[in-house]
Symmetry: C2
Subunit: 89 residues, 2 copies
């Protein structure tokens, strides 16, 4: 389901932590965090704050990395890294 | 072996790419990239540049994330995220 994925962006870290906890507390067993470029570090931080400080049930169940080509604002193609972190009960 | 690990720091991205390629070309089958905090994104970038642009043999074989407590320069304890990326032939 598409809404089992949280895309990490420019909001404060705790906004994403809360979004994940809300999703899990509403009855879901898992959620996937996705981030690109410099936000990859932030996604890892969010996963650690959730699993170490807020939820004893949730664990990191899968981590994958990769890269994809995007068109930047000047119309040039460039490669951007991404991470996908699955948290599961 | 300890020198099968590259710790990602402040050097240019391409320094790490070269270090990895040199290590592999000297006869090793694998290498692990490690990074903490904001450098986590850089480690993912390095893994992607190596596997997509420079080496058709090397693949990402394992990715793990976690966090550890460190003492910052003011003597306070804080949590820092890390990533470990194994590249293997």
């Amino acid at each position: 389901m598409e809404n089992d994925t949280v895309f990490v962006g420019k909001k404060p870290t705790m906004s994403y932590v809360l979004a994940i906890l809300t999703h899990i507390n509403s009855g879901h067993d898992s959620i996937t965090l996705k981030a690109r470029g410099m936000l990859v570090s932030k996604a890892v931080d969010i996963s650690q704050i959730v699993t170490r400080k807020f939820s004893k049930e949730l664990k990191v169940s899968n981590v994958s990395i990769g890269s994809e080509e995007i068109n930047d604002k000047d119309g040039n193609k460039r490669m951007v890294s991404f991470i996908s972190i699955e948290l599961k009960k």
